[in-house]
């Protein structure tokens, strides 16, 4: 009678994954915050919708232990290319053969540029609790949830209608923030070093900000600006990975982007048919794709050098 014909659905799996994560973190004596989905919905920053994964931010000192504990419970990392790993080094995606959702375990969040320990402590200090699958889980408070939602939207290309819509909803919601809530938001953004990265959003709320940080002060900020101004194009993201390499390693890194090894290409595109001709045709398509994105990549590098935090998603009409 225990065996059911029903499949575990994402609508149930995701809240249960949040509950599981909270349970595992508590058992380790470490702290975890559920970010994005339930937090954004709780603070009415977006319409309730089905999430595909649970995003869990674990305090830095407990990150590796938390991953190991989930691995002991049958979860394992998704296989990815070296480039994809470098592009998502802020988190590790875990999957389980019997669960229809991922758990994204964050060690930091893109755009929050203060040291990870500082960021986590600031967000933890403002936490609130809500229930997922009848288990209390901690989520960021209003200011933290707004910052995360804004940075997530800014970081995502404006071509995604859903993200553009969610960004509009976020700004509309934030128009009703009280002066004190705006003050909290600006204060938190300063503490977690997000004034420059969230500038397009904070500007849209009319929050007075200090002048932008110039190019060259923070490599992480320069990367962020280059990526955002390029509308998150794949070429821009790959160039960021190349630019992290020492000069002598860059030619090989560039070649790897332009003409990737078979293993990388097939991991990125599992549908490529077998055989050398199909492989080289896929490589050629990749090359043309990169070439088409050169203007966007150049635009991003230029914006970074000018110290401009430009985001097309924030430029869209309300």
């Amino acid at each position: 009678m225990v065996r059911s014909e029903l499949q575990l659905l994402a609508q149930d799996a995701v809240p249960l994954a949040h509950a599981l994560s909270e349970h595992v973190a508590r058992g380790l004596g470490t702290r975890a915050l559920a970010i994005k989905g339930p937090s954004a919905t709780h603070h009415a920053l977006r319409e309730a919708r089905l999430s595909a994964d649970a995003d869990i931010w674990v305090e830095p000192s407990g990150f590796e232990l938390f991953i190991a504990a989930l691995e002991d419970r049958g979860w394992h990392g998704r296989v990815g290319t070296e480039v994809s790993r470098e592009l998502t080094e802020h988190s590790v995606t875990l999957i389980h053969g019997e669960w229809p959702c991922d758990i994204d375990v964050h060690r930091e969040f893109p755009g929050l540029l203060a040291p990870a320990v500082t960021v986590f402590e600031e967000l933890w200090a403002g936490r609130v609790y809500l229930q997922q699958a009848c288990v209390d889980i901690a989520v960021p408070g209003l200011a933290g949830a707004i910052l995360i939602a804004a940075l997530h939207a800014i970081r995502t290309p404006a071509q995604s209608p859903r993200h553009a819509s969610e960004f509009r909803q976020l700004t509309a919601r934030c128009e009703f923030l009280t002066p004190l809530q705006r003050e909290d938001l600006a204060e938190l953004a300063a503490k977690v070093n997000a004034l420059d990265t969230a500038r397009p959003f904070l500007d849209s709320l009319g929050i007075r900000l200090p002048g932008p940080t110039p190019y060259g002060v923070s490599p992480a900020l320069d990367e962020w600006r280059a990526r955002i101004a390029a509308d998150g194009s794949r070429a821009a993201k790959r160039w960021i990975v190349v630019a992290r390499r020492p000069l002598r390693q860059r030619p090989a890194a560039i070649w790897r982007v332009l003409w990737p090894p078979e293993q990388d290409l097939r991991q990125d595109n599992p549908i490529i048919p077998s055989g050398r001709i199909a492989l080289n045709w896929a490589r050629t398509r990749r090359l043309l794709h990169v070439a088409r994105q050169v203007p966007a990549t150049a635009r991003g590098r230029l914006a970074a050098r000018r110290g401009v935090s430009r985001s097309s998603i924030a430029d869209q009409p309300k």
Binding site: L6, L8, L16, H23
Partner: protein
């Protein structure tokens, strides 16, 4: 003996089924259970106030099924839940 849902479970109840994750024993029970149909009906009656006999009475009354069949299903299901650690027995 009164049957009660064990402490510490994560669960989501829908109109026709419930999904239960045994967090206290997650090392060995890594995936959620889904109870529907008769199992779901029994699960809903495990509320810390009813004995097994009272659960059977309630099911017979609401479903009109034969007592013998209901009693057997209930006994088997409660034994399974007990074995999994999903319920515990309280003294009446």
């Amino acid at each position: 003996m009164i049957a009660s849902v064990a402490d510490g479970l994560a669960h989501i109840t829908h109109d026709t089924y419930v999904v239960v994750l045994n967090l206290p024993q997650i090392e060995t029970q890594q995936s959620p259970y889904i109870f529907e149909g008769t199992a779901f009906q029994i699960w809903q009656l495990i509320d810390g106030t009813r004995t097994e006999a009272q659960i059977v009475d309630q099911l017979v009354e609401t479903t009109g099924a034969e007592r013998e069949v209901v009693a057997r299903d209930t006994r088997d299901f409660l034994a399974t839940l007990r074995g999994l650690g999903l319920i515990e027995e309280l003294n009446a």
